[in-house]
């Protein structure tokens, strides 16, 4: 993840490489349980990182992210169920296209909205979609659950693990590339001050819709992966608490950092697995962590690690810059 802005790799970059190596090695040493956990983790990581692009970088605080995952998953599942597993590629394609079209539509509808209005709007649309999934039981099997054919034959989760990891890396590369180009620059500019950006001649509409298209497509991919891995879909995959978990992952890891979101996903999901014995207290801790991280480490934990890894002089000069601790764009 070299970025061309800083001279030597940051502490967080080193951490990322280490984590990548560990991730690749898990199926060799981990055992069935951890492979299964990892395969589910990739689903959340893809969602958290794409949401970070949407909300953290572009400032579009959307609650509809899981709707795209559900849309992709259900569309693909229904096509395969009705036409046969030979049609997997078509199903995936249609799921993706559907999500992208809806994403563009929503991006268009929220052009004039921001902040809590955008949040509430996307929440309302998401809830209506969820109700449709529940009510139209004849098609979706609603709360009864839709049984979905899996991608791979056999009982092992290893192929899913690597597929998920590949999808995660692929989407990260895509998003990272995007951020490196003018697109990234404009998105950040739009987030900071849309009026000024527009005045500078940037077609903000174009970029706002673009970011919705890209992130909804990625979310749909995550949903399709999830559907054909877990093998069962219910409308509960998109309830508000699930969106809350994705937000928590992005925030805790670093809302302005794609790898940060992945690390956040790992922290939140693995912790919730390890703390299973504590029942509901897990979520109490999650809520607490969310509040504390926002209160004391606003940009998330990964940038915090970065800061610790940097020379003190650089840190203090950064702190005294206006606008607090915003960091120079460095494509991460």
């Amino acid at each position: 993840m070299a970025n061309g802005y800083t001279q030597r790799p940051s502490a967080s970059a080193i951490l990322q490489v280490i984590l990548l190596v560990v991730a690749l090695a898990v199926p060799l040493f981990g055992g069935a349980y951890w492979i299964h956990v990892g395969a589910i983790l990739w689903y959340y990581a893809i969602l958290a990182s794409s949401w970070t692009l949407l909300a953290g970088f572009a400032g579009q605080f959307s609650f509809a992210h899981l709707m795209f995952a559900a849309l992709g998953g259900y569309a693909s599942a229904l096509i395969v169920l009705h036409m046969g597993t030979a049609y997997f590629p078509l199903a995936i394609f249609i799921g993706l296209v559907l999500a992208i079209v809806v994403g563009a539509l929503i991006g268009f509808m929220v052009l004039r909205l921001s902040g809590p209005y955008l949040a509430l709007f996307t929440l309302a649309i998401s809830e209506v979609f969820r109700m449709i999934l529940i009510a139209e039981e004849q098609v979706t099997r609603g709360s009864l659950g839709l049984q979905v054919p899996r991608f791979f034959k056999g009982d092992s989760d290893v192929p899913y693990y690597y597929l998920g990891l590949a999808l995660l890396i692929g989407s990260m590369l895509l998003m990272g590339f995007l951020l490196h180009t003018r697109v990234g620059l404009f998105l950040r500019a739009i987030r900071e001050d849309e009026g000024a950006t527009q005045a500078s001649g940037v077609n903000t509409t174009h970029y706002k819709i673009l970011v919705f298209v890209v992130t909804s497509g990625i979310a749909a991919i995550a949903g399709i992966y999830y559907a054909h891995f877990i093998g069962i879909l219910t409308p509960n995959m998109m309830i508000l608490p699930e969106m809350g978990i994705v937000i928590a992952m992005a925030v805790i890891g670093g809302i302005e950092s794609l790898p940060g979101a992945v690390v956040g996903a790992a922290i939140v999901y693995l912790l919730s697995e390890l703390l299973r014995d504590y029942g509901e207290l897990r979520f109490v801790l999650l809520g607490l962590a969310l509040v504390l991280v926002q209160r004391f480490a606003r940009n998330g934990l990964l940038p915090l690690i970065d800061r610790i890894g940097r020379r003190p002089a650089a840190v203090s000069s950064r702190l005294s810059a206006p606008g607090g601790t915003s960091e120079k764009p460095h494509g991460n």
């Binding site: 909300a55 400032g59 605080f61 509808m109 004039r112 909205l113 921001s114 902040g115 809590p116 209005y117 949040a119 509430l120 709007f121 929440l123 309302a124 649309i125 809830e127 209506v128 109700m131 449709i132 529940i134 009510a135 849309e194 508000l240 608490p241 809350g244 937000i247 928590a248 925030v251 809302i255 029942g279 509901e280 207290l281 897990r282 979520f283 109490v284 999650l286 809520g287 607490l288 962590a289 969310l290 509040v291 926002q294 209160r295 606003r298 606008g323 607090g324 915003s326």
Partner: protein, 299 residues
Amino acid sequence: MSYFSLLTVNGLVIGLIYALTAAGLTLIFSVLRVVNFGHGAFYMVGGYVSYYAIRSLGLPPVGGVVVAMAALFLFGVLFEILVMRPVYTDEVERKDEYAIIVTFGMTILLSNLAIVVFGPFSKSPPPFMAGTLILGPIILPYDRLIAALVAIALLCATTWFLARTTLGQALDAVSQNRESAAVIGINPRRMYTIAFGLGSALAGGAGALIAPIFALSPSMGDLPVVQAFIIIVIGGMGSVGGSIAGGILLGLAQSWGVGYLPDPNRALAYTQAFGAVLLIVTLLFRPTGLFGRVHLRLE
């Protein structure tokens, strides 16, 4: 005709009750410009506080409401001081997101803590008045009627408070323009704290009032908070009168929708959709809502 009037009265009453849950939210939004996603949790805690106050102190149901409001006021103030401060001390670049995330985290924390502390079984405080009012075709349980009446009273009191008292006017001033208010000697920070406390108290009071109607459970705030959001958007964020209008609109939409949609089965399943659609339509065509103040930041 009586079918229609029954549905309408029911919709009106429930709408007023919804409006009460929205009142606290709108107050916090108008002064702090913050949408309190923790509103549902405060509502739930208010309900439980009232229940235990009635149970252990032997208070009448009204006493429970008062205790709930007082307790939530204190809790709101504490939360504001400890957690919400960064919203306006320029430590935070993205105030909206900070507020959303932090209040959301509060909800997750409180809801799950409630399961652990209060247990999973439904509880119900005693009704304000048992029995049902029957007037011709109208059938209305007394506790709903009373809750609706108290809701009107509280909402009017809040409106009066904001318009007529010094403190209320100070809050109003801050909601309109922070800097100008500061210039004329109002301490914005103190106003924020008070606003958050009052908003939380209203949420807690709503929970205490509604608990006898819908029963207590740790997840009881989940639905009301979504409905409250819908109401404040429809009615206009920052307008208490708007909350009343929005609440009534939502209550009627749900009642008529479920009562008249051709497929009764589907109609019931889409109960919440009526409100969500109202919200979507409002944001698309009249984002400031029915009575919202135009100058309130939309972008």
